[in-house]
């Protein structure tokens, strides 16, 4: 059995940052489904927020102001102590990345360049052209190489082994050999990413299935605030590839089929740079009321920025527009529609990334501290990954120093290994009549249409009934490929079950929250209800479906007010 003192699952920004933190003192290994540089963090474009004031228009920015914007953006559901902590760590974490080589764009003085982003009072989004996530990801991977972090690639973690309330190991499927492998560790950190693929019209990578969150949930770790799903205002019509908020930060317009900059109706002051939930709803309203274009989209117009600025600041957006939509934004507006983009919710953690299981931590999109509450601000997710990746790593180092027992849980790990092997045999032997890819498509369609941007009881009840039906039909699927080696048919069937479980949690949480807050916008309950729902939703696994309860939101100094932009 392979043993490392610390095992990090997932090699996106959160996982890598955690590993880089612990690897200086402890034997650290990463287990990941794809090589680190393939991780979904690399698709992040616009930037990462910190109140540095490098842009002349941001000279009065401060930790306090960034914290307030984050809390207000969250529709007051973020834990205010956690948001303040994240932002106080922001600048040091970004300087650190810069020292490790991250090629940020520069101001004329040679400092890290910052651009305006939605829901922010000042231009505080540090950027590297429009590929900030890619460059940050490569930088952290490079740092992990410098520190000789051991990486196990193309391993799909299927179980977290817990013994007496303590995490002792994980089971991973080696995708290449088809063998399940047992891993033992003193502490385990998940940085496994979000569940975007549960939805249709997602900007997320195909591997963003929420598999890590499911594994933790299945083993008794609660999921928090899962009904809060962010819809990014601008995903490319057709493929739903992300078109960064930076395009609007640089001055891009949103225009309907009448040629109107319609944001003036919805956010007269902030215009295109309102927070994402509001801009997405505005676009969807235009489309629903017949002011979109055929098929359901509006235009993101960059033409007035001019060729030079587009080539300098938004080269990736231009390439994607040309290659995937046949549109050169220098000459023509880009067709866009809102698309599923981010899960504010996730594995419930405290400010150190710690969970209810000793030695088990989570950071990044798979986790929910919560700093994003009901709506995340653009540029705060990359920040979340590096800050809480680092803080989780730091806390684990402290935990390790206090840990006296070592190498425990071998029997439990071997038992879990056998269980996984048995479950695989059972799944492979399935010769039913249902196509699991079709079930996946139905789930995705149901979630985007019925638990989407605008929600209401009737539609969500239909969605819930559908998910329960799909879970039932899943029992009758067929796996065509009975082999072991690089068996995508099996893997896709396997991960679908976890996705259905997460869809169930999302739909149920959304039904139970009878108010509108941030991204959760109900036509039947259009107002925020602080008296009843100023609370985090907590979902706990039971074999018959999720059990929903609530926990308190931490309020330090900002009392909830109505959001206006």
């Amino acid at each position: 059995m392979k043993y490392h003192e610390i095992i990090v699952v997932g090699a996106g920004l959160a996982g890598l940052r955690a590993a880089v933190e612990t690897a200086t003192e402890f034997d650290t290994a990463i287990i990941t489904q794809v090589p680190p540089v393939r991780s979904h963090s690399g698709a992040a474009q616009g930037g990462v927020n910190a109140p540095m004031g490098n842009n002349p228009a941001g000279k009065d920015d401060s930790v306090e102001k960034h914290t307030y914007d984050t809390v207000k953006g969250s529709d007051f559901l973020a834990d205010q102590d956690a948001a303040a902590l994240m932002i106080s760590e922001a600048a040091p974490c970004i300087y650190e990345l810069e020292h490790w080589g991250c090629p940020f764009s520069r101001t004329p003085e040679g400092k890290i360049a910052q651009r305006p982003f939605g829901g922010a009072g000042y231009p505080r989004t540090c950027y590297a052209a429009d590929k900030t996530g890619l460059y940050m990801l490569h930088t952290l991977w490079e740092r992990s190489v410098a520190l000789n972090v051991k990486t196990y690639e193309e391993r799909f973690v299927t179980d977290l082994v817990v013994e007496d309330g303590k995490a002792v190991g994980v089971i991973a499927l080696n995708m290449v050999t088809g063998e399940f492998e047992p891993y033992m560790a003193e502490s385990i950190i998940f940085g496994t990413g979000g569940p975007g693929q549960v939805y249709g019209r997602s900007t997320n990578a195909l591997i963003s299935t929420g598999s890590g969150a499911y594994v933790a949930y299945r083993r008794g770790v609660p999921l928090k605030d899962m009904e809060f799903i962010q819809f990014h205002p601008t995903s490319l019509f057709g493929t739903n590839i992300l078109m960064t908020e930076g395009a609007r930060g640089e001055g891009g317009y949103l225009v309907n089929n009448k040629g109107e900059r319609f944001m003036s109706k919805y956010a007269p002051t902030a215009m295109e740079l309102g927070p994402r939930d509001i801009v997405s709803r505005s676009i969807q309203t235009e489309i629903n009321e017949g002011r979109g274009f055929e098929g359901g989209y509006v235009h993101l117009d960059l033409r007035h920025l001019g060729r030079e600025k587009i080539l300098d600041r938004l080269p990736g957006i231009r390439d994607i527009s040309i290659n995937f939509a046949g549109v050169d934004p220098i000459d023509a507006p880009i067709p866009i529609q809102p698309g599923q983009h981010y899960a504010m919710g996730g594995i419930s953690t405290d400010m150190n990334g710690a969970t209810n299981i000793k030695g088990f931590y989570a950071a990044g999109e798979c986790a929910c501290v919560s700093v994003h509450g009901a709506n995340r601000l653009g540029g705060n997710s990359l920040l979340d990954t590096v800050v809480f990746g680092k803080l989780s790593g730091k806390h684990v180092k402290g935990f390790m120093k206090g840990k006296t027992e070592r190498k425990k849980g071998e029997a439990a790990i071997m038992k879990a290994l056998e269980e996984q092997e048995r479950a695989r045999e059972e799944l492979l032997s399935k010769n039913g009549t249902e196509n699991h890819a079709a079930i996946r498509d139905e789930m995705k369609e149901t979630m985007i249409l019925k638990v989407g941007i605008f929600r209401e009881e009737k539609l969500m009840q239909e969605a819930l009934a559908k998910i329960i039906e799909l879970k039932e039909r899943y029992k009758n699927i067929r796996v065509m490929n009975k082999g072991r080696k690089y068996n995508l048919d099996y893997l896709r069937a396997y991960e679908l079950w976890g996705m259905l479980e997460l869809a169930h949690v999302i739909a149920l949480g959304a039904i139970e929250r009878k108010e509108s807050r941030g991204s959760h916008s109900r036509r039947d309950f259009p107002k925020r209800d602080d008296e009843k729902y100023m609370k985090h939703t907590i979902a706990t696994y039971t074999p018959s479906g999720p059990k929903i309860s609530y926990s308190d939101v931490v309020i330090t100094k900002y009392q909830p007010v109505e959001r206006k932009y």
């Binding site: 794809v34 540089v37 810069e98 080589g101 410098a146 080696k485 995508l488």
Partner: protein, 243 residues
């Protein structure tokens, strides 16, 4: 509203080295929607026709580098290649793995040697310590030198297309040398000489015969050959005592 689909034929190279004596082609017919990419076409095959097909994928937005493969005789990223564009060239559309790499199964190749070379050249910035409290100052002009090399997504297309790399497995290859270049031209780096010495070998920059295959296939339009010649020039200058 039903979307008009069209019958499309694909021929995909299949091979499991543990089972098959040699690679073979298998033909598939799928229903293609307008705008369908080659990666989506592979999923159509996997989901509806042949559950045994193996291929790599991740971002489906041309940024992760997972799905480089040979399509209709040229190395491309499957996710950014339109089925319709390939049909204009030939049908059935031919799909095979990255050439001259060991096949793991079907379209999945062994990328370990590629990454082993990559990590052998210190692919990380070594800035002078102690670091400043804030950022290391870098001018816009200095930063502009990084714009091209940092776009590399490590998809392996260039190393797969390089005929020198085919017969000399020890040749560092275009992607690795591009990475060296990325740090050599970074104003913040402090081990420029060491980096140049690292590639001043038979299997380093001198092995490049300027064939430009790497440039032809790079999905990010990076000019690796140019970067390699830059490194050669710096080495010459260094030896002559000009730098």
């Amino acid at each position: 509203m039903a979307i008009a689909t069209k019958s499309v034929k694909l021929k995909i190279q299949k091979y499991d080295p543990e089972i098959d004596a040699e690679p073979y082609w298998r033909e598939y017919t799928i229903q293609a929607k307008p705008g369908m990419t080659m990666l989506e076409a592979l999923f159509e095959v996997l989901n509806k026709v042949d559950g045994s097909l193996s291929f790599r994928f991740c971002c489906r937005g041309a940024v992760c580098g997972a799905c480089a493969m040979m399509i209709n005789g040229k190395i491309r990223l499957a996710c950014e290649t339109q089925v319709s564009a390939m049909l204009e060239k030939r049908e059935p559309i031919l799909v095979s793995p990255l050439p001259h790499k060991k096949v793991v199964k079907d379209l999945v190749v062994d990328m370990d040697p590629f990454f082993q070379q990559m990590v052998s050249i210190k692919p990380f910035l070594v800035a002078k310590e102690p670091y400043p409290e804030k950022e290391i100052i870098q001018s816009e002009k200095e930063r502009a030198k990084l714009t091209e090399p940092i776009d590399c997504i490590l998809c392996g297309s260039c190393s797969s297309a390089c005929t020198i790399a085919w017969w000399d497995p020890n040749y560092l290859g275009p992607a690795t040398l591009e990475k060296v270049y990325r740090f050599v031209v970074d104003s913040r780096d402090s081990i420029r000489d060491e980096r140049l010495d690292m590639v001043d070998t038979e299997d380093g920059v001198w092995r490049c015969h300027t064939i430009f295959n790497c440039v032809d296939v790079c999905p990010k339009k990076i000019n690796q050959t140019d970067a390699i010649q830059y490194l050669k020039r710096q080495l010459v200058k260094k030896k002559l005592g000009f730098s």
